[in-house]
């Protein structure tokens, strides 16, 4: 009996030693791959940050309003943030490639899924960034036009345009990621529809005289009969 136990233990120990001996080189390979990945990720991060600095990306994100948001969230500058993102995505990607070397089938599936997800993540991030850039540009354009036309509540108009564009960009990004697609679509439709309805009611009730004047000016020759408020020619 005792002999059997010892034999089994020896066999188990032997098998464990064999398995460990088989795994050890793979673990070493994983460690080497991780080290190479770390170096590669650091180099990529440095290159990206240099390029972004050359392109004055921080100024671009300032214009887009992204810098302000990052500041409020106590996050680093957009150049640093993108650098870190590239570093971690690269390193993680390389480590996962290394994990493949371990030969664990379940892990290999997850690794493949992660790599399929990466392009979508990048597209989603780009959508949000360019959405913020567009929101900043168009809201500022609306603000300036409204101010120079003496339009009432220019900031409200500008803010509304900014919010709508950001919501649109975020919903597109979520759709790209495949996260809560139906919920986001429904939420966007409700918010956008509510805003348009609100504007229509507000304009219909509060601005019907304005609308009438506008239409009269547009479709009759009343414009030429109007007294001009400023008679000065700037040029």
């Amino acid at each position: 009996m005792w002999e059997m136990i010892v034999t089994e233990l020896n066999r188990a120990m032997h098998e464990f030693a064999q398995a460990f001996a088989r795994l050890l080189p793979r673990l070493l390979v994983l460690l080497i791959i991780a080290l190479v990945g770390w170096i590669l990720a650091s180099v990529l991060k440095a290159i990206l940050q240099s390029v972004l600095r050359l392109l004055k990306f921080d100024r671009l994100s300032e214009n887009a309003g992204a810098a302000e948001l990052l500041k409020k969230a106590a996050l680093p500058t957009s150049t640093e943030l993108l650098g870190r993102l590239v570093f971690w995505v690269t390193w993680l990607g390389v480590i996962l490639v290394g994990v493949n070397a371990l030969g664990i089938v379940e892990l290999q599936d997850n690794v493949a899924r992660f790599f399929l997800f990466l392009p979508r993540l990048f597209v989603a991030l780009l959508l949000i960034f360019f959405g913020m850039l567009a929101a900043s540009f168009f809201s500022r354009a609306a603000l300036l036009t409204a101010v120079n036309s003496n339009f009432p509540s220019p900031r409200l108009l500008s803010y509304a345009i900014r919010v709508v564009i950001i919501i649109l960009a975020i919903s597109m990004a979520f759709e790209q990621l495949g996260l809560a697609e139906n919920t986001i679509l429904a939420a966007f439709s409700i918010v956008f529809g509510a805003m348009m309805l609100g504007l229509a009611i507000a304009f219909g009730l509060g601005g019907r005289h304005l609308a009438r004047q506008f239409l009269e000016r547009r479709f009759t020759d009343k414009k030429s009969q109007e007294k001009r408020e400023d008679e000065l020619s700037p040029l």
Binding site: F137, L144, V147, N148, E229, D230, E231, P234, L235
Partner: protein
């Protein structure tokens, strides 16, 4: 070799039929039926009276008018020839109308005329606005003689204006151009001007024709090219400036064409303006300035209100353009009652220079920078109106001269902003 691709085959055929000319008068039109016939008759009168022995031609570059402007140009030149009485030319006075390619733009029209002048080897070419209903035949002689007889390269006009007309010129374009480039050009954005063959030929290949400033305000680009290229400049007094009806919204467009183009040109000509220290007077004919003091109707209260609301509403935009101190002073101005409101020369010049530096650094979209200056310019207009309510012609000129000197005195500030990239807070 000049780029002639802008000229259509049909136009080239017509120009070849005309042959070489001594003088070309260019008339860019786009829906100017109201005034163009009168302008053509004056041009023709001027050519017959002052250049009867020379080979002359009129070229109308039209942007696709829907009111038959080109036909009116042709009709006016024929009817005038019949009724010209004692005025007879010894040669055929050609009048060509052409529809240039693309959408209507001042740049395409002028480039067509400059290209045609180059092809025709015209020694002198004058550009006349189709809206200048105050034009007389003498204008043609005044514009062309310095080029044709005295070998000048570029002639800019001086007009008689109402004291409150053209405030974008008197409060911005003239003083800033003068301070930066060192030439006392009263109308850097002329509607009438003339140039030599040499100038036209060398300017044809300039890059600005292909850029927005060259399309929207080629007149200012040509003036800048004349200054920057070291050409022989001349200034000629023409007479009363035609009054073009302007709506309030046109101020934004006018500022895009003037402020935007001048700011843009600073980066193009930075070597030229940075080293300029002396101010030169131009050789000239007639008065250097002339203003009338007729009263004009203007809503001053609205100007003041639009300045204050502009500063308040645009604060986030202005803070990225202006220095903190300048913005603080503007905000303080909004708190004073309108009869004590005074947008001083110094503050206005600092504002303009900070805007120019921000335009150069592209802190935000260039067009947005120009638009953000509009309410501030309204404040400056308000102050100019209040300061000169009772002023005589010479007092108004003194005020403009004082503003010019402030622009000159503060030029080192612009150089500093330009070099250090400082500005918005």
């Amino acid at each position: 070799m000049a780029d002639e691709s802008i000229l259509s085959d049909e136009l080239i055929r017509q120009l070849i039929a005309v042959g070489e000319v001594d003088i070309l008068v260019g008339l860019p039109t786009y829906n100017n039926a109201k005034t163009v016939a009168q302008v053509v008759q004056a041009v023709r009168g001027g050519l017959l009276k002052y250049f009867p022995r020379d080979r002359v031609a009129i070229l109308n570059a039209d942007g696709g008018s829907k009111d038959d402007s080109p036909m009116l140009v042709q009709a006016a030149s024929i009817s005038d020839a019949r009724n010209s009485g004692p005025l007879q030319t010894l040669r055929t006075l050609h009048c060509i109308s052409t529809r240039y390619a693309g959408s209507p733009s001042a740049g395409s029209a002028l480039r067509t005329i400059v290209s045609a002048a180059d092809l025709l080897q015209a020694k002198a070419c004058a550009i006349v606005s189709p809206e200048s209903d105050t034009i007389s035949p003498d204008w043609i002689d005044t514009l062309l003689r310095p080029i044709y007889r005295e070998n000048f390269d570029f002639v800019t006009p001086v007009y008689r204006r109402n004291r409150f007309e053209g405030m974008l010129v008197t409060n911005f374009l003239y003083p800033m151009t003068r301070a930066l480039y060192g030439w006392r050009i009263r109308e850097p954005y002329p509607t009438e001007f003339s140039f030599s063959y040499r100038f036209g030929n060398q300017t044809l290949n300039s890059d600005f024709w292909h850029q927005d400033p060259g399309q929207n305000s080629p007149e200012l680009c040509l003036t800048m090219a004349a200054i920057g290229g070291g050409y022989r400049l001349y200034q000629a007094f023409l007479g009363p400036k035609a009054r073009v009806e302007q709506a309030a919204a046109d101020l934004v467009v006018a500022m895009r064409h003037t402020v935007g183009t001048l700011f843009w040109s600073l980066a193009q000509n930075s070597t030229s303006w940075k080293d300029t220290t002396e101010i030169h007077a131009l050789p000239s004919t007639g008065a250097e300035y002339e203003v009338t003091t007729d009263s004009v109707r203007v809503n001053r209260k609205r100007l003041h209100q639009m300045f204050c609301s502009g500063v308040a509403e645009l604060e986030p935009v202005l803070s990225s353009i202006l220095a903190q101190q300048t913005l603080l002073e503007l905000k303080r101005l909004c708190t004073v009652v309108d009869d004590q409101f005074h947008y001083s020369d110094e503050l206005w010049v600092r504002t303009v220079y900070e805007f120019a530096a921000s335009y150069h650094r592209a802190v935000i979209s260039p067009d947005h920078i120009v638009q953000a200056l509009v309410p501030l310019f309204r404040g400056r207009v308000y102050t100019f109106l209040m300061d000169n309510r009772e002023s005589s012609e010479s007092e108004i000129e003194q005020h403009i001269e004082s503003l010019c000197q402030t622009f000159e005195r503060l030029k080192p500030y612009l150089l500093e902003l330009w070099a250090t990239g400082q500005g918005g807070s």
